[in-house]
């Protein structure tokens, strides 16, 4: 874990330095939000589904220990091997151990934010194991040596011209080619070779079912299924929070997941694995990495309900206009702005402030995590922990003084109205961070208090 603090605003500034691309990014994500809305409006029971999903998750989290033990017991009975990892380091060690036991040199991996969280790829590569990300978007960012910028759409920040150049360099596609059909076809051939050579498939997990010991993986491309149906070794990596009690709970979650994520009624492939492939092995690695501690954190434990659909990112006005990389975290956007600073406030203290508190994330969240309330609460936690920047701390202290005293409020209000009119440069200069990329308002002629005194007082209104 990095101990270096990072600044969302500084990274966002880089992103918006190309206004055309920033606008395109904003539109691309809003397009997905609109597709989501269309799906949502086709189901009259949508709000009921959200409520049930939220209740099932709350129930599961409250009994997480016994559900995990039940899951382990049932998965083991089906012939799977269950491993427990307290952190990313142990997780990676377990995965490496399994691969070494089987003498595997080449691995294909489907999309898994958890393995990103653990930095599994560089760890395995250091040991001489080739890891190929097979989700098209993840393959694109892997070839560019950068992390995904979105948990569902890893390459949402990349233009097709950039993909064309990248594929020309790595896959030998025609120079200047930008047609998505052509580029996807090239990736299909390139990755088919990788699938044929792989000695093991690593996947994430969308849902793990306590009563059956099964796991469920959802993809559109079919890459997870290809990756674990050719080799005899499947390693599935999951966070503790992926658990659900029963098979029938899937009827709720599968209806919500793809509609929320990409505006599809269901992903193309929704695969249920109960035990290993014939003559093969299935290893399930359960990762804690702060999740059990988050569960005990009353103010934020609901964040464990997250099913990683990405809807909060697609709708967030800040995410859409600042890009996923500005969060410098595996999980960006509103949910990332909760999860990361809760675990490491020193590094991620700027994230809860990258939010207008508009509440759109809370509105779309399929498991009803009160995201914008959590973000507001987090700001106070960050202040109490002493992570506020000096400028912000001083301004807040001054504002508290002025807003807490009617006399000072009247005095400075009058001063500001006059100064805004006469010397706008005094108010909006490089020291006023609120004035960046903003115009200050036209000052009103009088204060509200004097307007009220003149117009309303005494008329009984």
């Amino acid at each position: 874990m990095t101990t270096k603090s990072h600044d969302h605003a500084a990274k966002a500034k880089q992103f918006i330095s190309n206004p055309e691309k920033a606008h395109w990014h904003d539109e691309a994500l809003w397009f997905i939000r609109e597709k989501r809305d269309k799906q949502v409006h086709s189901l009259p029971e949508w709000e009921r589904l959200r409520e049930l999903a939220s209740q099932i998750k709350a129930h599961t989290i409250s009994k997480l220990g016994s559900y995990l033990v039940a899951f382990e017991e049932h998965a083991t009975a089906l012939g799977a091997q269950v491993h427990w990892a307290k952190d990313g380091e142990e997780h990676n060690r377990i995965v490496l151990g399994i691969l070494k036991n089987h003498g595997v040199q080449r691995v294909v991996k489907s999309k898994s934010m958890l393995t990103e969280e653990c930095h599994l790829n560089p760890y395995l590569e250091k040991q001489g194991i080739e890891v190929v990300d097979t989700d098209l978007g993840e393959r694109i960012v892997q070839l560019r040596h950068e992390p995904p910028s979105h948990i569902v759409l890893p390459a949402i920040h990349i233009k097709k011209e950039e993909v064309g150049e990248l594929f020309h360099e790595h896959l030998g596609t025609d120079q200047g080619a930008t047609d998505p059909d052509y580029l996807t076809e090239a990736a299909r051939h390139h990755l088919r070779e990788k699938f044929m050579e792989a000695g093991a498939g690593i996947t994430g997990v969308n849902f793990a079912i306590a009563e059956t010991g099964g796991i469920v993986i959802c993809t559109n491309e079919g890459n997870a299924d290809l990756g674990v149906s050719l080799p005899k070794l499947h390693i599935a990596c999951m966070g503790l929070e992926k658990l659900i009690p029963r098979m029938e709970d899937l009827s709720i979650f599968i209806r919500l997941l793809a509609r929320s994520a990409t505006g599809q009624p269901i992903t193309t492939y929704t695969s249920h694995f109960h035990g290993p492939i014939a003559d093969g092995e299935l290893h399930i690695v359960l990762l804690d990495n702060g999740r059990s501690a988050l569960r005990l954190n009353r103010a934020f434990s609901e964040a464990l309900k997250c099913i990683r659909c990405g809807a909060c990112m697609n709708t967030c006005p800040v995410y859409r206009r600042s890009g996923g990389h500005s969060y410098s975290a595996t999980v960006p956007g509103p949910i990332g702005s909760v999860l990361n600073p809760v675990q490491d406030a020193g590094t991620y203290h700027s994230l809860p402030f990258a939010c207008s508190l508009c509440g759109s994330c809370t509105d779309v969240c399929p498991v009803k995590i009160p995201l914008h309330h959590q973000l507001l609460t987090l700001r106070n936690h960050i202040r109490l922990k002493g992570h506020l920047a000096w400028g912000k701390k001083m301004t807040m202290a001054m504002a508290a003084g002025v807003l807490g005293s009617p006399f000072l409020f009247r005095f400075f209000g009058g001063l500001a109205r006059r100064a805004l009119k006469t010397f706008p440069g005094l108010m909006n200069n490089r020291f006023n961070t609120w004035g960046k990329q903003r115009d200050l308002p036209t000052p009103p002629v009088t204060s509200f208090a004097s307007w009220y005194k003149k117009n309303r007082r005494g008329d009984g209104a």
């Binding site: 189901l43 009921r48 995990l68 998505p180 890459n223 193309t268 492939y269 249920h272 109960h274 009353r298």
Partner: protein, 196 residues
């Protein structure tokens, strides 16, 4: 103490109050004609769902299809047609299916709300056939088409060990500038025959 025990101790200490498990037995959206809705949903996810009347012959229908006429290697695990020149039973290593052009299998449930077909690998010796094939044909009996996912999961509540999957449309991706492209890694096309 092992990580397992550590994690479980942490999860059992000062456990929050138990939250109730909700009642999922509720009424959900149904459609006036679930077969028509199923066909619309399959079309909506990029596939084709075709009604095959009881008199029609599946084998003959498939041989008239464009995807069949262009194929070299065909395998079938369907009980409704023996159309194949490669038997999965005779294959030891699934990698040998790399050049499979067309695969036919039977689904046991169709879901009207999203066009998904449920099937298991009970009768499919190499499940990779579903994904490695260039084109996929599934069958589902019209009486097995349900309205929604709740009805579907009620039927698959008893789990057999092995693999089960909902397939809804052909393989697809929109990872390059949100342009929808079919045939990412799996089947480039999906046809579902509804057996009346």
């Amino acid at each position: 103490m092992s990580s397992r025990d550590n994690i479980l101790v942490q999860l059992r200490q000062s456990t929050p109050e138990e939250e109730a498990y909700p009642d999922l037995n509720q009424s959900w959206t149904t459609y006036p004609d679930q077969i028509v809705k199923f066909q619309e949903s399959v079309a909506g996810v990029g596939g084709h769902a075709v009604r095959l009347d009881s008199g029609a012959d599946l084998t003959e229908t498939i041989t008239r299809m464009e995807v069949y006429q262009a194929t070299k290697k065909v395998a079938s695990c369907s009980t409704h047609t023996r159309i194949e020149n490669t038997s999965l039973d005779n294959i030891f290593d699934p990698h040998a299916l790399e050049d499979l052009d067309l695969f036919i299998a039977d689904g046991s449930i169709g879901v009207a709300e999203n066009g998904a077909v449920w099937l298991t690998d009970e009768k499919i010796p190499h499940r990779v056939a579903l994904f490695i094939t260039q084109h996929l044909i599934l069958t589902v009996e019209s009486r097995c088409i349900v309205h929604n996912m709740h009805e579907a999961y009620q039927q698959i509540a008893t789990v057999r060990p092995g693999f089960g999957i909902f397939i809804s449309g052909p393989s697809k991706t929109a990872d390059i500038e949100q342009s929808l492209v079919t045939g990412a890694h799996g089947a480039r096309s999906l046809t579902v025959f509804i057996l009346v």
